[in-house]
């Protein structure tokens, strides 16, 4: 009887180790120095968008929060976690609204379905400047169905609109589902990590990347913090 129980436990461990020991990496992304001032966007050329913003929105290259928190940093497991090859079936959505990209940084798994919608009363022409993946640009008049695309290689892709020069965002195509994007507080969390040695990478569109090595031994939470040096210009 006891052997049977032990065998069952062992089997569970082999088949699905994360159920037994699920480690978590969490922490905060901050910056030092003074970041460049984010300028308000002049949308006067596109009145249907301009009127959606009571106060002008600024560009989102560097978005900060209280206590030097840095937002829109993609934190992900860049090595150590085997690519489970499980592409999420749920599509991710990238919205064009008020002549802005929402979210500013969109993370997706390779081969995961990407839906791009146009909520505006104007035409957009989305142009992700892919270098590793196949590059395309597509026009999307108001009221047309979402554009559905996929990327099959890992890449950070700068996205622009060929009609509205101020529109800018990023696609982060990753080969892992262990990722997070830092919030307004700079916090991120990577749960469900089975025991092992991992490299965690933090990527910011303007400040570059940073990595940290972490070892998960069991059911524990490891603190990893990233600090980027801000650029004044």
């Amino acid at each position: 009887m006891r052997t049977k129980q032990m065998l069952l436990a062992l089997l569970t461990l082999l088949v699905c180790p994360s159920l037994m020991f699920a480690g978590t990496v969490s922490g905060k992304v901050t910056y030092t120095g003074t970041p460049a001032k984010q300028k308000p966007i002049d949308m006067s050329k596109e009145p249907s968008c301009a009127k959606q913003h009571a106060t002008p929105v600024t560009n989102e290259t560097v978005v900060t929060g209280p206590n030097n928190a840095l937002e829109n940093v993609v934190v992900y497991v860049s090595s150590g976690a085997p690519d489970d090859g499980q592409v999420p079936t749920q599509a991710v959505t990238y919205e064009q609204k008020g002549c802005q990209y929402i979210p500013h940084v969109l993370v997706m798994h390779t081969n995961q379905e990407l839906k791009i919608t146009n909520e505006d009363q104007t035409s957009h022409n989305i142009h992700p400047l892919a270098k590793v993946n196949r590059e395309w640009n597509k026009s999307q008049p108001p009221g047309t169905p979402p554009i559905v695309e996929k990327y099959d290689k890992e890449e950070f892709i700068s996205v622009k609109c060929n009609v509205h020069p101020w529109m800018h965002g990023y696609f982060a195509v990753l080969k892992t589902s262990h990722y997070d994007v830092s919030k307004g507080s700079g916090d991120f969390k990577l749960p469900n990590l089975p025991p092992g040695k991992y490299t965690i990478t933090a990527w910011h569109e303007d400040y570059g990347t940073q990595t940290a090595d972490v070892t998960i031994t069991g059911n524990e939470t490891k603190d990893v913090n990233f600090t980027f040096k801000a650029k004044a210009y």
């Binding site: 949308m43 050329k45 290259t61 022409n125 700068s158 009609v163 020069p165 800018h168 965002g169 210009y233």
Partner: protein, 266 residues
């Protein structure tokens, strides 16, 4: 049948002249100091071209009327002395007219192009790029920072390719998506294209000038009435051409100073 055709030609000629003579589709009211000269020139050109057009149509109608229904065996009448004299006469008449229009017209045109701008003219740089206009004011130091095409980063709102990190002149440059100007002050507009050919057209200002990549052109003008006017690109520049526009806002000096101050504070 031929006579009906002759009458039809005359009627079409008269009908097409009516809206022009009655000024049905006239341009919007002019708001510039050089506009009246251009309007006058356009008016004169329309009259002269209109009279020539009507005269030609009536002569055509007359000939159709006269010679319609000619029998198969009737001899074709020829112009006395051959057509040579008539062609030379017409050539001289039309040539003189076009030359005269050109000589008189260049006065209106040259005020915008060839005369140097006033000393106290406000210099603004206009940059056209696919598919938006951006305008740059030199800021309190009165100097424009240098342009570095490799530094253009639209997502970061560096539309002109400035280098504030190393170039002190560029730090106070004011960049706007609309062209705000003070009323009754001469504006010296320096025109720069970021990519392909574009055009700057403001109907009310009576100005239409192409942006030519690699060639920085300048026009100067003075607006005489406050208000908001549309700036459109009238040179087919690509997919988003239809959407390439901006607004010209003519403000009182006081409002303009305030606008500039607000922009500088951003």
């Amino acid at each position: 049948m031929g006579k009906i055709f002759a009458v039809t030609i005359a009627i079409i000629a008269i009908l097409s002249a009516v809206p022009i003579v009655m000024n049905y589709w006239g341009p919007p009211a002019d708001v510039s100091t050089h506009g009246p000269a251009i309007d006058e020139q356009m008016h004169e050109t329309m009259w002269e071209a209109g009279i020539s057009f009507l005269a030609a149509q009536f002569v055509l109608a007359l000939f159709v009327w006269q010679f319609a229904g000619r029998g198969k065996n009737d001899k074709l009448k020829t112009f006395p002395g051959g057509a040579k004299g008539l062609v030379i006469a017409a050539f001289l008449l039309v040539g003189t007219e076009i030359l005269a229009l050109g000589v008189i017209g260049q006065k209106a045109w040259a005020t915008v192009y060839f005369a140097p701008p006033d000393k106290n003219a406000l210099t603004i740089q206009a940059q056209a790029g696919q598919f938006a206009f951006y305008f740059r004011y030199p800021g309190p130091d009165g100097k424009f920072g240098a342009i570095h095409p490799d530094k253009i980063d639209e997502g970061n709102q560096n539309f002109f390719g400035l280098d504030p990190e190393h170039d002190v002149d560029s730090r106070d440059d004011i960049i706007a998506g609309e062209l705000a100007i003070p009323v009754n002050r001469q504006i010296n507009l320096m025109m720069h294209s970021k990519d392909v050919g574009h055009s700057f057209y403001v109907r009310e200002l009576r100005i239409q000038q192409d942006f030519v990549p690699g060639l920085d052109l300048a026009v100067h003008f003075t607006a005489t009435k406050t208000g908001q006017y549309e700036i459109v690109c009238t040179q087919l520049c690509g997919l988003g051409h239809y959407n390439m526009k901006a607004y010209l806002t003519v403000l009182s000096q006081e409002d303009f100073d305030k606008w500039l101050k607000d922009k500088a504070a951003q």
